[in-house]
């Protein structure tokens, strides 16, 4: 089902989605560009090259298909841009982001019927549990497909995340592929200063999860290789966690590597710099 996306040039698509992100948040002077920019390579690989999905015929239940849940719901700019660019809804609809009567709510929601979104997220820590339940349901229904979920690393502060890790490991939910956006920044500052995770990898191991790491989370090929490797570890009794080292704000020079652009929109001049750094490739909305 994903064969129609093979033709896109992933590097070119990364540029276009970054443009969408900064234009969307600039237009409404709100939203979360930092985490969105850091995850573009992950989203492009997943949605254009990995997922077994059918964007034009979205169903809530996704029987016979892979599913994706965004637990760190605030990175809607990259999520919506990717969904639109791979065909879930018209690209032109991106211009309604965060505006009144839009299906593109500030945080993802199902109420307005936006194709591609299967649960509301934004209040952190909840989407992982939902993904665990969906993966277990797929196993019960003998559906061999995979459930993917992305969480932030700041989101790991939430206790529910660790409840979900415990549960998923205990119940051997081994069709679940968890990616942690390990940018080591959260809205108030570096994660080491806000809530130190210490040895995160060791914690994940100790919870009974299969853990792999990708040090180059903004390198298209490295991310692809990591997901493929993680997939090969599924169905062996453990959920798989990919610790994806990304740079918050990657791809826009003045936003990269700091928490300052977690939830701040660029002004007119800053937007121009960001757009020069990311040329139009697949056409602006």
């Amino acid at each position: 089902m994903n064969t129609t996306f093979k033709k896109i040039d992933k590097a070119q698509m990364v540029y276009q989605i970054r443009r969408d992100i900064v234009r969307m948040v600039h237009q409404v002077q709100s939203g979360h560009p930092g985490g969105s920019l850091g995850c573009v390579e992950f989203f492009v690989n997943l949605f254009f090259d990995i997922l077994n999905h059918d964007p034009q015929n979205f169903t809530m239940e996704a029987i016979g298909q892979d599913m994706f849940f965004l637990s760190n719901g605030h990175i809607t700019p990259v999520y919506y841009s990717t969904l639109a660019r791979c065909g879930y809804f018209p690209i032109d609809e991106l211009k309604t982001f965060r505006k009144i009567h839009s299906r593109l709510q500030g945080h993802p929601a199902t109420l307005e019927g936006l194709p591609g979104v299967r649960v509301a997220t934004g209040s952190l820590g909840q989407g992982l549990s939902v993904a665990v339940g969906a993966a277990q349901a797929k196993k019960l229904l003998h559906d061999p497909n995979i459930v993917y979920v992305l969480t932030g690393d700041g989101e790991l502060n939430e206790g529910q995340i660790w409840e979900a890790f415990m549960y998923a490991a205990h119940h051997q939910v081994d069709n679940l592929f968890i990616t942690i956006d390990y940018n080591q920044q959260q809205i108030d500052g570096p994660t080491s200063e806000i809530m130190n995770m210490f040895d995160l990898k060791a914690k994940l191991f100790a919870f009974g999860l299969e853990v792999i790491e990708c040090k180059l989370g903004n390198n298209i090929q490295s991310v692809y290789d990591a997901i493929v490797m993680g997939k090969s570890l599924l169905r062996k009794g453990k959920p798989v966690v990919l610790l994806l080292h990304t740079v918050m704000g990657h791809g826009v020079s003045f936003m990269a590597g700091t928490h300052h652009w977690h939830g701040v929109a660029p002004n007119d001049d800053q937007l121009q710099v960001a757009l020069i750094e990311n040329p139009e490739t697949y056409g602006d909305y």
């Binding site: 997220t121 339940g133 349901a137 019960l140 529910q160 119940h171």
Partner: protein, 318 residues
Amino acid sequence: MKKFEFSVKKDTRSGFGDGLLEVGKKNEKIVGLCADLTGSLKMNAFQKQFPNRFFQCGIAEANMMGVAAGMATVGLIPYTGTFANFATGRVYDQIRQSIAYSQKNVKICASHAGLTLGEDGATHQILEDIGLMKMLPHMTVVVPADYNQTKQATIAIADIQGPVYLRFGRPSWPVFLPENDSSFQIGKAQILQEGKDVTIFACGHLVWNALKAAEILYEQNIAVEVINIHTIKPLDKEAILKSVSKTRCVVTAEEHQKNGGLGDTIAQLLAEQLPTPIEFIAVNDSFGQSGTPAELLKVYHLDIPDIIDAVKKVLTRK
């Protein structure tokens, strides 16, 4: 005057357990989730019969609600079981975002609600859950009155598309409603006793107390209409307005805070459409305490004599 009798007392939570087993046999999409209270929730029979459709969640209610939402996304019908306190207040944001706002078909089944939980005391005696749940858009709120009705409600909610809060309790309580009651329908008030002088709207365990109060008042020439509001949301406005148009005064009775409960719900409707004197039998802005269910109902003024007093008082305000 209809006489309500009982030959046996049973806990409403057993009605849930028996109902879950029965509906589980009929519908293989139904799955059970429990947060380490399988015995208390009477979910053992379902677990034994359908081990692959039962999911032990441990003492982690927030995750349980999310897992249920995920299972519902794929088309299953999850019934979650834990104490009412942990099924509502503890996980309010999980229910709000992952279930209600996300329109997930999850049945939140909550035992040990109200004062009649008894000796465990105020930490567990939630008296705010009806209010919390009824405030959520898309949520159906059901509070059945006895074992038979709880069993029937447990089966009936499988057919409602969307989230449901089903509230029941711990103590043995008179079983006075028929099995497979043809007059029971989610969203439809049940007129159990007809009368012209005053209407008592009650839910849960206090429906029995209301019926007994009505019998005593009948001997004093006061004709009480007793209506079981087992579904607080959506509210059967038509039945309520019809009764109150006749009786012109109201007593509400529930094992819940006066703020946010059944009484509040009825008062809002009547204030908008048919202003009427009301007396509230409910806990008045306080926490509970340890004690037997009978002692607690007495101390917090939810007992039969309290209902009788409330009726007499509201009649003077007519």
